[in-house]
Subunit: 103 residues, 2 copies
C-alpha cells in the first residue's frame, strides 16, 4: 500500500491551509461537512494522525474516530429529524477511496 | 428509536440457534460471512452486546467492533489479494438497515 501523502486535501484542512465547515473538533479528530454532500448532513470524520485509511491507522485512533462518528450520527438524526443514517468508509481506489486520509 | 429485539437473526447466530460461517470471534464480538455477499469476502462484524445499531451501542463496544473490523479488512485484503476494501454500516430502515442488531 502506498504511504501517507501530506499534500492530500484533508491534511490541508487540518493545517488550516484551506477552509472547512467544521461541525466537531477535538485533539485527535475533526468532523466537517462534505463539499459535495450525497445526503443531507453528509459529514466526514477524520483522525488528526497521519493515516491513509483503515489499513494503516493506529487502532486507538480508529476507535476514537468511530466514537466521534457515533456522536455525529446521533446529532445528525436530531438535527435533520432523520429516520436513519448510513456510515461508509472507503479504502484505496478499488474500495472507493478518493482522498487518501482516513475518513 | 425502537428497542433491541431478541428475535433478530444475528441474535440467533450469537445464541447458536442458527449456523454462521465464523471468521473471527472473541468475548465481545463475532465476525461471519454474509449469506448474500455483495463482494468477495463480504463479512459482518457484530458486537455480542444487545445493540440495535450505532445510535444505541455502548461507545466502548463500538470501538471494539471497529478494531475487529480493521483486523478483518486487513485479512480480507491479504486473502483475496484485493486492491481495496469498503466498509458500510446501516442504521434504521431509512439508513439501509435490514437486521436490527448492530453490524
Amino acid at each position: 500500500m502506498p504511504t501517507y501523502e501530506d499534500a492530500n486535501i484533508f491534511a490541508k484542512m487540518l493545517r488550516g491551509e484551506i477552509p472547512a465547515y467544521k461541525v466537531y473538533e477535538d485533539d485527535k479528530s475533526l468532523a466537517f461537512l462534505d463539499i459535495m454532500p450525497r445526503a443531507p448532513g453528509h459529514t466526514l470524520v477524520i483522525p488528526k494522525s497521519k493515516a491513509r485509511n483503515i489499513l494503516d491507522v493506529a487502532p486507538d485512533d480508529l476507535a476514537h474516530v468511530i466514537k466521534v462518528t457515533q456522536k455525529i450520527a446521533r446529532a445528525a438524526m436530531r438535527t435533520f429529524d432523520a429516520e436513519g443514517v448510513t456510515i461508509q468508509q472507503f479504502n484505496e481506489s478499488a474500495g472507493g477511496q478518493v482522498v487518501f486520509h482516513l475518513p
